[in-house]
Symmetry: C2
Subunit: 331 residues, 2 copies
């Protein structure tokens, strides 16, 4: 029986604040290049005060993935916590307007934490350095998870970043139980090598016990399954997870499944802003998987979606992804 | 003596909410194409609920002009009213980060009107249709105008849109008096043909009595100085105003000054989003004027800046305008 949702995502709900900066801005302001750093409200205000004019686009890793699947016509829902403020309204609008169900109640307006935001500093090489003020998204907990929604999901999609919140791990556990209890399956994205270092044991336990599909990039793979080379890491991961998908930037993506290994080539493109590459890869892959395509086609769908999102600023798709799939002969 | 500011702008402070829509979205939602419509908060919420995912970029016509001059290294200030909310903070940040002085005190947070916003619906032809909820910017009044700042301006730049607020006309009068009393000069942009219809007499009186430099496009010229053709309208205007500048889309721009007439060709470009074309034309022209260039060069600087801003989404410059001026042999 077809379930109500093909994919339900859970993650950090936030709005991206995107700005182009010269390379030396990162050094001068203590920003580590290419990774995600958690910052508090004061640091967020300081950094914002020093960065140039920006633009605001809804973001959040799993939310980007869900938006991508929704843009492809997939049936999706998303759970992430924002506040009842203007940025929260923007986040909710953009997800709903893309066709995703976004049912998480807004936290009431008031003093204290605001809707989360991520200052995305894009250097001339297209690389992005993320500075995340989690705000209200930090408080995502079990009460925010509706078991009925989770039971209606063919696939859960969990964002590794949320391992930074203890209540969120409990929320993940509740969601997994409800989803698996109703015959659904669980995917996880590792999100960030430093996040893995912080929560290695928790990650490992969840992967081994519950995860059916693991998304990661090469740095995350090496952090989670250290080995002499990518091949060896992939094999370690494939012993524990049914489907392992590792993206490899300009080398495309590798899929391990049922003893077989597939490789999809990257789609050549000019990188304007790398934000969301992994998120949109997951959109394409999960869309393909829930629509019944083979592993190689799923990976190619991921690569096409990733190429689209890095060809412009912002981490949500702008072109018609389905049309791109037709152009690439995938459908 | 060099004054502190080359240009001080006064106008509607707002954040643009930009979204691509198909042509039939405008018809289905009663949006008039290519013009600015004022809407209330309820209509703004309705329209926002129906439009697709969007992105947010600081806007406001005169604020875009000031941002453009600041991006060129000009000494600028801006007066426009926002609220102490998240959109207000975004607006203030983006202007200051561009190098403009933005000293208007934020209105205190609280119930009622919020920071103004403009839903910019961009159709596939690149044309934009503006739906403006004025919010707090409507309450711009004489108390917001600091005479000392106005006296420190070589040029005032007034936004015609603000004629929709009676207190704002009083604010304009106060600003003009302080500026002219200290030997400064006054420029005005007509903003919109419908705005002219609503306030024809007030516009005319201000132009005749106070304006030294008038910016408009062809529709606004025809509305303000109706005549058989553009030539005749330009002549009517030139009888009343020392410098008359009329932009003409793909036909570039015309300047009437001291009995002479100049024409600058448009800079060919692919139109992605026409928002801000007139605003950035004014940036280039005013920058040239205050830097001592001749009328034709000023107009060409306007055309180059306009071409830059319509080549991407959003009404603030993204490329280095000064570098473009070098490329075009203007400096």
């Amino acid at each position: 029986m077809k379930k109500k949702f093909q994919v339900v995502g859970i993650g950090n709900a936030m709005v991206d604040i995107l700005s182009h900066v010269p390379e030396d801005f990162l050094r001068a302001n203590g920003v580590e290049k290419g990774i995600m750093q958690l910052i508090d409200m004061q640091r967020a205000a300081d950094l914002y005060g020093r960065m140039g004019p920006a633009r605001e686009v809804s973001g959040g890793s799993a939310a980007n993935t869900i938006a991508g699947i929704a843009a492809l016509g997939g049936r999706t829902a998303y759970v992430g916590k924002v506040k009842d403020d203007q940025l929260g309204a923007i986040f909710a609008h953009d997800l709903r307007a893309q066709g995703a169900i976004y049912e998480t109640p807004l936290a009431p307006a008031g003093p204290g934490a605001e809707t989360g935001r991520c200052m995305v500093l894009v250097t001339p090489d297209g690389e992005r350095s993320l500075n995340t003020y989690l705000g209200w998204s930090e408080f995502l907990g079990p009460d925010d998870v509706d078991p009925a929604m989770m039971a209606s999901a063919e696939w859960l999609y969990l964002e590794g970043y949320r391992f930074d919140g203890p209540d969120s791990k409990a929320a993940f556990a509740k969601a997994i139980k409800a989803c698996k209890g109703a015959g659904g399956r669980v995917s996880l994205t590792l999100s960030d090598p430093f996040c893995i270092e912080r929560h290695r044991d928790d990650f490992h336990e969840m992967i081994r016990d519950h995860v059916d599909l693991l998304f990661c990039n090469m740095q995350e793979m090496q952090a989670m399954y250290p080995a002499a080379n990518l091949d060896a890491s992939l094999k370690l991961a494939a012993r524990e997870v049914e489907i392992v998908v590792c993206t490899a930037s300009e080398n495309g993506a590798y899929v391990m499944n049922g003893g077989g290994r597939e490789h999809a080539h990257a789609v050549p493109t000019d990188i304007v802003d790398a934000t969301g590459a992994g998120d949109l890869f997951a959109s394409g892959f999960l869309y393909g998987l829930t629509a019944g395509f083979d592993m190689l086609t799923c990976a190619r769908m991921g690569c096409v979606a990733a190429a689209e999102v890095i060809s412009h600023i912002g981490a949500r798709p702008e072109a018609d992804l389905m049309e791109l799939y037709r152009d690439h002969g995938l459908i």
